[in-house]
Symmetry: C3
Subunit: 122 residues, 3 copies
Amino acid sequence: MRDIMRLGSSPRWSDVVIHAGAARWVEVAEDASGDAKSQISQVLRQIDATLTQIGSDRTRLLEVLIFLADLGDAPILNEMWDGWVPRGNAPIRACVQSGLAAGYRVEMVVLAAVMPNEQRDH
Amino acid sequence: MRDIMRLGSSPRWSDVVIHAGAARWVEVAEDASGDAKSQISQVLRQIDATLTQIGSDRTRLLEVLIFLADLGDAPILNEMWDGWVPRGNAPIRACVQSGLAAGYRVEMVVLAAVMPNEQRDH
Amino acid sequence: MRDIMRLGSSPRWSDVVIHAGAARWVEVAEDASGDAKSQISQVLRQIDATLTQIGSDRTRLLEVLIFLADLGDAPILNEMWDGWVPRGNAPIRACVQSGLAAGYRVEMVVLAAVMPNEQRDH
């Protein structure tokens, strides 16, 4: 039984790392040609897909650290975010403006609890 | 018994999330009208209040990630920080300059261990 | 038996904090007089040294959050990083541009699992 599980390893990073009952991963938009709204929408859908992949769901998000290339996009983020986060089960959230790779408008570092059953399996 | 405990959930975020024996939360000054010294002082007091709320204390801080709107405020931060952190039980700390929401001078992402007894209760 | 272990505590921060089977620490170049390549190389060697100190190794890295003073240094980072990260056991990685203390080109926040045996000892 391994105590660390990695999904989607590339030479540069793993897509997801699971340890001690929690999964962590970084999301940027798969298609960075779109505007902030497009990229934020993609990132939220990608988080959903990863949650499904690890057998978790939005109610088990623990922390999301959000880097925006332009804090002027925060209202767009907040509108989409507020509709996406489950009421009563929101993660903690920090949101700051930082330089991102060319074309990217948003980068999110996500921490989510896996299911208690999953924890035993890892 | 739930494995995730959330305090102060709003539609956008939880004030505190506790999982696997550790609590995490984000602090900005409740009154952002003040200068850096005022805001840093507030944030440190707010961290104390949250530590008390979760039945923990400063000696159990694990990590504090600090975003300053202006790194020129670092000397003010360090002076207040050094008097606040318990000797021999400091957390790890990173401090970088990032854009923050208008008026905010500091944002801290805090990770602290809850008490071993608390861990069993969650 | 303490549930939190700290290494190298100074009045401002601990060098390493270990809790719940994971060690976390922040690295900047010990000699910040060099260029980005020098500093990144130092930081990676310093991470190796800390991993050795805690009885872990590169295959147990969970997450590395990288702050570059200039994202223009990302190609240098990536070249050194790709040769340093163990294939099939990469951590998750976020990399953004943030203001760092004068002279510093890179700051990394590292999370690594300690050895399962070590976890029991703490």
